[in-house]
């Protein structure tokens, strides 16, 4: 269950996998950089519900074939340059969505349901371009059209969390969204700041914020594994670093420069 390195964990993910990534406070940056290093390709990314730095990095590194998303940006640091560029030149397939539709698709998968109905979307061009979303008559109000979203079933949920125990239980605290990712995905791989000998589910204070190991296929320690993004109560976002990325990544050359500077070294103990 507990892997030696996050590179080992990254290698568990085959090319072509569908991957769910939560939007913030838990973005597995170290794991993502290790995936890039492992030479992974053809990923189908599902952003939950939006994406940022990691999604842009994976796209810029040529690892991605499609993105299902409600939006990708670097937040206050501006647009996501590699995402924007990939859309313009058609190098990735975009499945535009809206936040609650991504949640609903995952919730359908969580329940093992084939679909989830949802209000909204009708009359939008998002719907026009999503042939996989169906319109039906609301069976309880037949004059109403309602949208049915197909279940979204990722092969892997990946995220970074503060703490795991030896059994593979993961403490996520208030990030209850990660529970949905784990339930909806066939497998869940997690990097953590540290591993405790305590059983997280046995502590009544920690249990409400703990995802049981049953859903978890692998764990690796990656100290600072969400940097330069934040992990609440551990470290804040490094806004300067993200802004620097936003500027550099406007060109492919700049992007390569950033990647080279930030790539994972085998012998970098802090990011193993």
């Amino acid at each position: 269950m507990i892997k030696e390195t996050s590179y080992e964990l990254a290698k568990e993910i085959p090319s072509g996998s569908k991957i769910a990534i939560f939007k913030d406070s838990s973005v597995p940056m170290t794991l993502g950089l290790n995936m890039i290093k492992s030479g992974i390709t053809d990923l189908e990314i599902v952003t939950v519900p939006t994406g940022g730095l990691l999604v842009d990095l994976l796209i810029g590194s040529g690892c991605v074939t499609s993105v299902e998303t409600s939006g990708v940006s670097l937040g206050e640091a501006g647009p996501a340059p590699r995402f924007t560029e990939a859309i313009k030149n058609g190098s990735i397939t975009i499945k535009d969505s809206t936040c609650p539709a991504i949640y609903a698709g995952l919730q359908a998968s969580e329940k093992g349901n084939p679909f989830m109905p949802l209000r909204g979307l009708l009359g939008s061009d998002i719907l026009t371009h999503r042939n996989d979303i169906k319109e039906i008559d609301n069976p309880f109000s037949p004059k109403e059209k309602i949208v049915c979203l197909p279940a979204i079933k990722p092969d892997f949920a990946i995220f970074h969390a503060p703490l795991a125990d030896r059994d593979g239980n993961i403490y996520v605290g208030i990030r209850q969204e990660l529970r949905l990712l784990a339930h909806a995905s066939a497998n869940t791989l997690v990097t953590v700041e540290k591993v405790t000998n305590l059983n997280l589910l046995s502590d009544p204070k920690l249990a409400p914020g703990t995802i049981p190991a049953f859903y978890v296929g692998g764990v690796a320690v990656a100290r600072g594994g969400a940097k330069p993004l934040n992990l609440p109560h551990h470290y804040d976002s490094d806004f300067q670093q993200i802004t620097r990325y936003a500027k550099l990544a406007k060109s492919e050359e700049g992007f390569s420069e950033w990647i080279t500077q930030n790539s994972i070294e085998n012998n970098n103990a802090n990011q193993k």
Binding site: P49, I87, R119, G120, S124, I126
Partner: protein, 241 residues
């Protein structure tokens, strides 16, 4: 008392949302966020609830990312804000991009929650500071979220106003058209007409948007600036240096 343009716009928006009990604010929305907080401060006895996406303050955050959408679906949110790369005269919003889809030559982030929340929150205020014919167009290139819907669509929400750096529009849902509610001081009807790409109705002598009072400015510069600076430190620094 002097004030800056952010303070003016915060106050203009706060006036529009005064009746509302529960206000939600999306990401990257410092001016609507400040307006929500101002409105909360100005009606303390009413215990107004404000949700601010992206805030880590338990006072303003939800317990789960899906909760704001669920709350909207349940009808528990009165007011929300949207912006747009393009906004047209039917209040259609484009947050996606320009050019033949999907390989759009101008691509923005994406629709975020707009294609849902616009349908379900009774008062959605469109806010875009930049008032020009590139933004306020006759017809958007891509409808991320439609301003109105046909009868067979469940829709309890939609556009109520559009606020820009020049004026405030009301949106008339029956006529599917904007009506010029007021022009900000120092701006003219001509300027609004020249810079708006869509048709709208107006009276020959439009009202002038009210300036914030001294009391309002005091509240803004104390309670509101303190609260919003937790979420938007850069914005707070620039607005209240």
């Amino acid at each position: 008392m002097r004030f800056n343009s952010q303070e003016f716009l915060i106050h203009a928006i706060a006036k529009l949302i005064q009746p509302s009990n529960t206000i939600a604010v999306g990401v990257l929305s410092p001016i609507p966020g400040s307006a929500a907080l101002l409105s909360q401060q100005l009606s303390k006895q009413r215990k107004k609830k404000v949700f601010i996406l992206g805030s880590n303050n338990p006072k303003f955050k939800t317990s789960h990312g899906v909760e704001i959408f669920d709350l909207a679906g349940q009808g528990r949110i009165d007011t929300f804000f949207l912006s747009g790369g393009q906004i047209d005269g039917f209040a259609n919003v484009n947050l996606t991009g320009i050019g033949p889809y999907p390989k759009q030559h101008t691509r923005w982030s994406g629709a975020f929650g707009s294609a849902y929340l616009y349908f379900l929150i009774p008062q959605v205020i469109l806010f875009r500071e930049k008032h020009n014919r590139e933004v306020l167009v006759e017809s958007v290139d891509f409808i991320s979220a439609p301003g109105s819907s046909s009868e067979n669509t469940y829709r309890t929400g939609g556009p109520s106003h559009l606020v820009t750096n020049l004026c405030v529009f009301d949106f008339n849902r029956e006529e599917k058209q904007f009506f010029l509610r007021s022009i900000h001081p120092k701006h003219s009807l001509e300027e609004v007409l020249d810079n708006t790409g869509f048709n709208f109705s107006y009276s020959p002598n439009p009202a002038i948007t009210t300036n914030p009072s001294e009391a309002v400015l005091n509240t803004l510069r104390t309670e509101v600036s303190e609260e919003i600076s937790e979420i938007y430190p850069e914005f707070a620094k620039n607005t209240w240096p």
